[in-house]
């Protein structure tokens, strides 16, 4: 039963990743692309934790924690660049 639910969750987050990719390529505004990148990072975190459940190991939490931190910092850096034209003033 857990296997079927895991496959369902994998499919949902995989399709979500493709939808965010569509928004990245077709976004009319830079804010749309930054938002789609942020959502893509969230989907990747969920996929990593699902992969950890699938294999039954606790190794992937560190990977998802690193992805969360790097995703937040990159989102703030992109927004700073759009706002001020520079990241570190």
């Amino acid at each position: 039963m857990i296997t079927i639910a895991l496959i369902f969750a994998f499919a949902c987050y995989g399709i979500g990743l493709l939808l965010t990719l569509w928004r990245i390529t077709n976004g009319p505004d830079p804010a749309d692309r930054i938002l789609a990148l942020d959502t893509m990072v969230i989907n990747v975190i969920a996929l990593l934790i699902l992969y950890g459940i699938w294999h039954g190991t606790a190794v992937y939490y560190e990977a998802s924690m690193l992805v969360a931190m790097v995703g937040f910092v990159s989102t703030v850096a992109y927004c700073r660049f759009v706002l001020r034209g520079d990241i570190i003033e």
């Binding site: 399709i15 979500g16 969360a68």
Partner: protein, 124 residues
């Protein structure tokens, strides 16, 4: 006990999958950029939260080992999601909304997007 644990973990996995795909589908369904800012909060709050609860329950009830790494990820995501939304909204407002269209702030200084930071250091 084992069947109950399996049903519980599967329930959280299915709910989180549905919320995750709703959050990503809202990105291409909603019309305006400021409306699209709503979509990732669904994926963050209930999608990733459901996945993390399912992972904790799976390792606690079936594998028999408890870990609190998931709580750290949940805390970090809940802390950073409003900040990213604020920054994205500011970067959208700077390019698309004119200073005459926003309402007054009611204070001594205007919106920080269109006005320089106050230079007086007296109050603190």
């Amino acid at each position: 006990m084992s069947l109950f644990a399996e049903i519980l973990v599967s329930f959280f996995l299915v709910v989180s999958g549905i919320f995750g795909i709703v959050g990503s589908f809202g990105l291409i369904k909603l019309k305006e950029t400021m409306q699209r800012l709503h979509a990732p909060t669904k994926a963050t709050t209930l999608g990733v939260g459901g996945v993390l609860i399912a992972s904790m329950l799976y390792f606690l009830l079936i594998k028999g080992s408890f870990s609190f790494h998931e709580l750290m990820i949940t805390l970090f995501l809940f802390l950073t999601a409003p900040l990213t939304a604020l920054f994205i909204a500011k970067s959208y407002m700077q390019g698309n909304i004119r200073p005459e269209d926003v309402p007054e702030t009611g204070g001594r200084h205007g919106w920080s997007l269109y006005e320089d930071a106050p230079t007086d250091q007296g109050g603190s």
